[in-house]
Symmetry: D2
Subunit: 336 residues, 4 copies
C-alpha cells in the first residue's frame, strides 16, 4: 500500500471524473454521436484560450502542434525570432532548424503591427496555470497540449490560429500532410477532424473543461498562483534557492539543491522512499535542481505533501534542513 | 478543483485497483464464473483472519455480522459478557438486549476453557490495522466488515466461526432467516452464498486482499502501527491530548480538542475549508474530540495531510497552535 | 475474445454509466456529501414505486427486505395468506415459517378494506418490467431488490411502507435489530440509513434511476412488454412451449425444452459454446425448462442474440429446430 | 435504454478490460514506472507483427505512421509504386504527392530483391484480422493503428522498420521532426519515445495484446475468418452482392444495396432505429454499399446482430428481404 503521488510538470494527475469519462464505450468519430462532442470541445477550448479564433485539435503531443505551426505558416528561408524560455524554447529552435528556417536567437516579443509577422506562443506548460489572453494580446498562434494544466493524458495538441495567420497560411509552401491546418480548419467547421479523431481524449477534454468552468477561469489562475506562491515561500523558508529568480512559473517550481546534494538522487529517493514523482533538472540543470509541479489537478495538500517529502528526503541525505519549516511557511501562506 | 480527502474510520478510501475491478461487467452468482471468485475470497479471508475456520460472507454491513452472531449461537435467556470498547461495544449490548439476552457489563476476556462459552470479537474497526490471531487466540466468532481496513465500499460482513461455535449453533433456537449461518456454511462449501451474493463487492474483496497479500500481513500491521504512532506523536507535539490514553487504536486517533474549541466546528471547517473528511466524536464525546483515521488505504502523506490540515484549522479557529510543529514530529517519526 | 452475454433474471447487466458512477472515490455516509445522494435515491424510488410512501433502502439482498417485512409488521401466531407465485413465493412461506407465523396457502389478493390486514407484494423480479402502482392499488408493503430490473449489482433491498403498515408496526413485538424499519424510517427522514449506508450502490441507484427517468416509466414498461412479447413469439414459432401459459412474466421467459433435451445441458452449452448465461429451471422445473431474461438493461438485439443462440444450441443437440425461424418471428415483432 | 452497437471498421469497440486499464491513475513517461510498460508494448507488437524488427510507437493516428514512412525513407523525386487497395491506398498516393514523390499507380508487390526498393504495407485495417508475416514475407515497413483490430481508441500508430529500411533512412533528406524515426528508434532502445508518450493508450495496448495472446494469434485469425465468412454467407443468402468479389477483407464486409435502396439511408436507419453504427460507402461507393465490420473485439453475436438489424432495416425500407434468412445462414456457418 505504497501510495504514489505525481507532482511532475506533465503528465499531471487526471481527475477521476475525467478518467472515468474516457472509460465509457467508444463512439465513432464520423457518426452524429461525435458532432456535439467536438462542438463542445471546440467551444470549451475557445473559452480556455480566451479567443474567438479557431482552436484546432490534433492527435499528437504538444510538439506536434509546434511542428504544425512551423509547417503551415512559413516557407524555407523565412526569418524567425525565438524567445528561448527554457527547454521547450530550445525545441522551437530545433524545429525551425529541421525545416530550414533561419534562426535569430534573442529576447522580446514579436511586435503585433508588422503585417507579415506572426506572434506565436508555446503555452504547452503555461496553459491553465497562467492567464493567457490570446485575443487581447494579439497572439496569432497559441499552442497547448493535453497532459499539462488540462489534466488529461498525453495525446492531444491544440493550436489557436488568428485570421492574420490564416492569411499567411495561404502562402506557405512547406510540404505538410498530417499537420495540414487548412484541412483541419475545414473539418473543424463541420465538427470533425481531418484524420480519425482521438475520440476518448476529446471526451476527456470536455470533462476536464467542465471542471475548469465550474471553478471559473479566474479562480483557476488564482489557485495556481496561490499554490506556486506557497511552494516558493516554503522553498525560501528552507533556505533553498529558486532556479528561476525573476519570473518563476506558476506551473512548476525549480528548486536549487543544497551544495553536495545531487538532484538526481533527490528525485530517486523521493520516488523510491516516499512515492513522489516530481522531476529532476534537464541538460545543464541536471543534478542541480529538483522540480515540484503545482499544475492542473493540484490543491493545498499536494503542496504540503511535496514540501514535506522534500524536507524528509533532503534531511535524510544529510542536508541542513529543519523538518516542518517549509511546511509551516506553506501552511501559513495557504491559510489565507 | 477542490480536492477531497477521506480520513474517517469507515468508509475508508478504496484503491483505484479495487474500484475498477468492480466496474467490470457483472457475472452471475450461480454460474461457474463465480465459483473461483468466491473460492478465492474464502481463502483470502482465512489468510487475513489467520484462521482455518470458515469465514462466512454476508450481504450486509458489519452490524449484520454481529446480529447474525447473536441469532445463531444463543438462546433467549443466555448470559452474555460484553467488553464494552466504545461505540460499537455499546451496539453489541443493544443487539443482545433486542434479542432478549441478559447482559452483564464488565471487563475482561471470556475464558477459552469454559466449554459452553464463546469468545466473540467485534473486529470491524480493528481488522487489517491490528494483528488479530483468530486460531492462536482461540477466538470463536470474529466479525469484520468491508468498509474499514479492507478498503472496500460498505455492504459486506465477514464472520469466522470455530468448531466450538458450530456445536453451540446446533442448540440455538432463535428465529433466523437472513442470517442463517448454518445454511451459509453449507453454501460456502459449494462456493456459494445462501442468498444472492453481493457479486461486485466480493470481486472487489479479492482485489483488496491481493493488494494486502502483496504487501504482506506483517508489513500491513507495521504500516498501521507506524502511521498511528506518527499521528499520536504529532498530536502530543501540538500539546493536544489523546482521548484513549492507555491503548489507543492503530485504526484511528481520537484527539482531544483544546479548551474553547468545538470539535464539531473543527470537523466542519476541515471539510469545508480544507476538503478533509475525518470524524467528530459520538455521544458523550461529541464536540470534545476530532478523529483522524489511518486505516486501510493509508500511507505517510495521509498522516501529513491530516495533521497539517488540523493545525491550520485549529490555528484558524484561534487555538494556540504552532503551524508545522505536529507535522515536523510526524515527519521525524515517519522517516524511520 | 469469447464474448459473454448475461441473459439471466438477476443479476442483470449493469449499464456502463452505472458501473462507472460507482467507480468514483467513495464518500462518507454521515457527511454532507451523502445527504443529497440519499435524498435523490429516496425520491427516485418513490417515482419508480409510484408511491408517496417512504421507501426504505436496506443494505441486504431483496430477501432481507422480505425478512424485514415479516419482522416489523407481525407477531408470532399471526395468520398470513401467501399467494405463491413461483420460487420466491415459496421463500415467503419459508420466511413466515422461520418466524413462527401460521401459513395458509391459497390464492387471491388480501383485501384492502380489512383494517388489520396488510397487502404485501414481492416485486423483486417484477419491478421495472411490470407496471406496479403501489398507491393506486393500495399495496402496503412493496419489496424490491437492486439486481433485477434496476440494473444494479446485488446488495440493496427496497421496501415501501404505507401508513396503515406503520400503524401495525407499532404493535409488532418480534425481535429485530438489523431490519428495524421504524429506525430506518427515522433515519430516512434525515437522509440517512440506520446502519452504514451501502454508499456506492446507492450512487449507482441514482444513476440507474436517471436512465429510467430519461426513458420514461411508461416507455420502460412498453419496452419490457415488447421484448417479452418478441421472445414468446419466437419460442412459439420454434414449436416450443411456454412454461407459464396464462400470465407469463415480462421479466423472463421460461421455455419448455423439447422431449429428450435436458434443460441443464442447454444451459451448459449456451454458456460454454456461445457465451450466453441464461438460467435453467429450479426445483421441479429443473432440466425441463430454460429461461431467457429480458429485464433491465435489455433491448432488441439481446432478444435476437438469446433466441439465435438457443436455436443453435438446440439444433446442435439434435432437436428438430429450423435455424432462424424464431429469430425471424422476433424480428417481425420487434420491427413494429 | 436504447442500446448502441459499434460495427464500424474503426474505431472498433474497446473491451472493458482495456477501457478500465486506462482509467488507472496516470504514470510518468520518463519515470521507472513506464519502462516495463513500454518494454512490454514493444515486445507485444513484435509478437503481433510477427517480426524481430523494431516496432515504433507514435502518438498519432495511423495516418501519422504512413506520413512518417514517407518522410523517413524517401527523397523528393523518388519513384513510388502504390498498390491501390481502396480508400487508404488512395491516401498513400496523396501523401506521396504532398511530399513530392512521383507516383506510378499499378498493381503487384514491390519485389524483395531490389536493394534500393522498400516493401511498405499499410496494415492499418488488416492488422489482427489478417495473418501478416512481416519477416517471412520480407515487409520492410508495416504500418498499423490502434483503433482497428487492436481494439483501442484512436491515437497510436505503429511502424515496423527492417534493417534494409534503416539503411535507406540514412540517405533520406526530407525535413522531419515529429515523425523522426531514427530518434524514435534510439529512444525505443531505452524504452522511451522521442516525445511525450501517449501513456494511457500504451497501457491499454498492453492489455489488448494480453487478450490477443491469451486467445493465440492463430485463433485470432481463425475467429476473424469465421466471422467474415458467416457475414458473407448471410449476405449472399439474402440475395445481396458483395462489393469486393475476389478478395474480400476479413475486417469488414462491404454489402451492395438492392436497387432503389440508398446506402446512406440504410446507415441512418440502422443507427436511429436499431442503434447499430456500421459504415456507409465512401466516395464513388457512397450510397451504393453498407459496411459491417467484424474486427477486433467481435464475436458470433455481433455478426448475428448486424445481419438481423440489416434485414429489418432493408425490409422496413421496402426491399425484397426475407427476415431471418441471412441470420439462418450465419447461424449455420457459425455453428461449425
Amino acid at each position: 500500500m505504497f501510495k504514489r503521488y505525481l507532482l511532475a510538470p506533465g503528465p499531471t494527475p487526471v481527475p477521476p471524473e475525467v478518467l472515468l469519462s474516457m472509460a465509457m464505450p467508444i463512439i465513432h468519430h464520423r457518426s452524429p454521436d461525435f458532432l456535439p462532442v467536438l462542438d463542445s470541445a471546440k467551444k470549451g477550448l475557445q473559452w480556455l484560450f480566451q479567443t474567438k479564433n479557431d482552436v484546432l485539435i490534433l492527435a499528437s503531443t504538444g510538439t506536434g502542434g509546434m511542428v504544425g505551426s512551423v509547417n503551415n505558416f512559413f516557407n524555407a528561408g523565412d526569418k524567425v525570432l525565438v524567445v528561448n524560455g527554457g527547454k521547450f524554447g530550445e525545441r522551437w529552435t530545433k524545429i525551425c532548424q529541421a525545416y530550414g528556417l533561419k534562426d535569430i536567437e534573442g529576447l522580446g516579443k514579436v511586435i503585433r503591427n508588422y503585417p507579415d509577422t506572426l506572434f506565436i506562443v508555446d503555452a504547452i506548460s503555461a496553459l491553465v496555470a497562467q492567464d493567457i489572453r490570446t485575443d487581447e494580446w494579439g497572439i496569432d498562434i497559441l499552442v497547448g497540449g493535453s497532459q499539462k494544466g488540462l489534466m488529461l493524458p498525453p495525446g492531444l495538441a491544440f493550436v489557436s490560429v488568428s485570421e492574420k495567420a490564416w492569411k499567411k497560411n495561404e502562402t506557405s509552401k512547406m510540404p505538410k500532410f498530417y499537420f495540414n491546418f487548412k484541412k483541419e480548419r475545414e473539418n473543424l467547421a463541420k465538427n470533425q477532424t481531418n484524420f480519425t479523431s482521438a475520440v476518448t481524449l476529446i471526451i476527456g477534454l470536455n470533462e476536464a473543461i467542465k471542471l475548469l468552468q465550474k471553478e471559473g477561469l479566474e479562480n483557476v489562475f488564482k489557485r495556481h498562483a496561490r499554490l506556486a506562491d506557497a511552494t516558493r515561500g516554503a522553498v525560501r523558508a528552507l533556505g533553498l534557492g529558486l532556479y528561476s529568480k525573476e519570473s518563476p512559473s506558476n506551473s512548476v517550481t525549480a528548486i536549487e539543491m543544497p551544495a553536495g546534494i545531487d538532484g538526481q538522487e533527490v528525485y530517486k529517493t523521493l520516488r523510491e522512499k516516499y512515492g513522489i514523482t516530481g522531476a529532476g533538472g534537464q541538460d545543464r540543470a541536471k543534478g542541480k535542481i529538483y522540480r515540484l509541479a503545482h499544475l492542473g489537478y493540484a490543491d493545498t495538500f499536494d503542496v504540503i505533501t511535496g514540501i514535506a517529502a522534500l524536507e524528509m528526503t533532503l534531511k535524510g541525505m544529510g542536508a541542513n534542513i529543519e523538518l516542518g519549516k517549509g511546511v509551516a511557511k506553506a501552511q501559513e501562506l495557504l491559510m489565507k
